[in-house]
Symmetry: C2
Subunit: 338 residues, 2 copies
DNA sequence: CTGAAAGCGCTTACAG
DNA sequence: CTGAAAGCGCTTACAG
């Protein structure tokens, strides 16, 4: 099965390959009649352009690389948190509507990924989540449009799309306080520098301070971000604290907490109130429904792609920084106490 | 910033580009000493091979395309069912460990995708879920290793990886019967021909028949496969049937059912028992824990990639058909009645 | 408005 | 064991 090439189309039409290429790419000033002839021949021969060849000369791949954190070595990506699949959905969809395709990697965004990006002539890179600052440094060398999702790494090379995490932490805590809670635990993933968790913690402190509630270090608990960690943290909360409410910086954490607390007797929200963060799909469908800080994950993914696209269209665009709003989504996991 | 090419490495070492290419690809019989020289130069110059150029001549891309069903036009992929993200995780991981990358598409697996596959010289295609038989026909033309996940389309062109869906439907129903239930509803997505749902329904009938329980058409309800559909189906179950148990062909459906039934009073599992299918992560962490038919999603994704890899390695390999086992995972959503 | 030709960065027989 | 050279399928100045 011989491949049909641009040459075949040229031969069939009696035109040159240059002309074929021009009409295919909508370049030059080709009269309608010629376009017609070319398009007919393309159709009839079933000609399909080869992206490899195109990419070799144009240095474009129409491919956007998406990097998703690998929870732990050996584990697979995304499993642990539906957040990733939700944003990935949005990214793939938006990219496709704009003529791009998405290549996913569960690697770290380091030097090795830079190499990959260059090998494949990626037109853009979207990195989700926090990574060490050093690994980013490598990526600046590539000169590829790069957007960071949910990272507070400060570098003028990268565009960023995130939410107001600090405010999110603030309103979550305030919501709890306004519902009568004063002993509020903060459950989170690692509080690394430049991480969203750190920001949300700051918001938690903001609210506490505003209402004159003393900070208690033993109310701040961290682990990984997955269901199991939530269950584990819930045990600590149950056994070693006297809190009436917990604020989790991720819905998956909150779900694990609820699972653990409600295992034998129904403790949530009767004895302990639980507040999440993200507003995943599942937050609506679990029992009890999870009260949480809602963010627009779909919009986040869409914007990430748009930032890449804008940069491609306008290479001299400056660093773009976008922050999306957050708001409380009320459901049934928080109780009012007096 | 000039790109470092193979030519630069050749110049730097005084060797020909052919030799460089040979050592890079581990071909030919190059003495260790020469390899050393080449590798050193590659290192020093920071040479990174261009996949586009390589792909152009070798007709290989090291890219595997994964097609995931798009729930509805305008919606984004995967959102509706964590099953997709779990299997995608596994596919990406396995591919990466074998030197391949994954390009995802939320399109249909039709003629248009075939075109994409050819454009990008995909080395393999993995299609998840059921599609119309016609659209597959196009894909056979491409002569690209192709594996179907969870499809009963019978075509010798494709490799398939699935589970024993009929048996799964059977043991689920049998489990319910053995726990005293005789009025059992079957909730599912569309029962299209060659779909897993159709098979699971057959298994449901098998069990009913074995225990001499008459089939009631009004106990078989279908909708889409997502949380909302589950809630919707639960209303029908509650209002128009007298069943004591429901068997859902997907965990997401079961979760929606539980949400709806337990909204006001806790009906599951006290009055109505619920059985799922898939054993998603969330099945363990919802309340009550979901009793379900477990399948090894990780293994499914891994095997899909391995089938592609085997075919690449051995192009004359015949059609491979793999079926993975299923088994009941007991949790708390089913009650024994007498 | 259209074509001849160079060139993108590789791989791979083929020859020696 | 190594190299000269053809060729993969395109795009893009350049010329006319």
């Amino acid at each position: 099965m011989k491949r049909v090439t641009i040459k075949d189309v040229a031969n069939a039409t009696g035109l040159s390959i240059a002309t074929i290429s021009y009409v295919l790419n909508g370049k030059g000033n080709i009269p309608e009649e010629t376009r017609q002839i070319v398009n007919d021949a393309v159709q009839k021969l079933g000609y399909i352009p080869d992206y490899s060849a195109r990419s070799l000369v144009s240095r474009k791949s129409n491919l956007i690389g998406v990097v998703i954190p690998q929870a732990e070595p050996g584990s697979t990506l995304m499993f642990q948190n539906p957040f990733y699949s939700e944003i990935l959905s949005s990214i793939e969809y938006t990219a496709r509507k704009n003529g791009y395709h998405v290549m996913i990697s569960g690697t770290n965004a380091d030097e090795k990924y830079l190499k990959l990006a260059q090998q494949r002539n990626l037109d853009g890179i979207i990195i989700i989540g926090m990574y060490s600052h050093e690994s980013y440094a490598d990526l600046t060398k590539a000169n590829i449009p790069l957007v960071l999702v949910d990272s507070y790494v400060d570098d003028h090379h990268f565009h960023t799309i995130k939410i107001n995490d600090r405010y999110g932490g603030y309103i979550a805590t305030r919501y709890l306080i306004e519902h009568g809670h004063r002993k509020i635990a903060f459950l989170s993933g690692a509080l690394r520098e430049s991480s969203v968790n750190r920001q949300r913690l700051a918001g938690y402190y903001d609210a506490l301070k505003e209402y004159g509630i003393p900070i208690r270090k033993d109310y701040v608990l961290t682990d990984q971000i997955n269901f199991h960690a939530g269950m584990h943290l819930a045990q600590i909360v149950k056994n070693s604290t006297d809190v009436s409410a917990v604020f989790c910086t991720a819905d998956v954490l909150a779900l694990g907490v609820i699972k653990e607390l409600n295992k034998n007797e129904r403790v949530v929200p009767g004895q302990i109130s639980v507040m999440g963060f993200d507003n995943l799909e599942i937050a609506e469908f679990c029992v009890p429904g999870l009260t949480t800080v809602g963010q627009d994950i779909y919009q986040k993914g869409k914007t990430a792609v748009e930032l890449v696209l804008n940069h491609i269209k306008n290479p001299n665009i400056g660093k773009q920084e976008i922050s999306l709003p957050v708001s409380i989504v009320e459901r049934e996991s928080v109780r009012t106490i007096s």
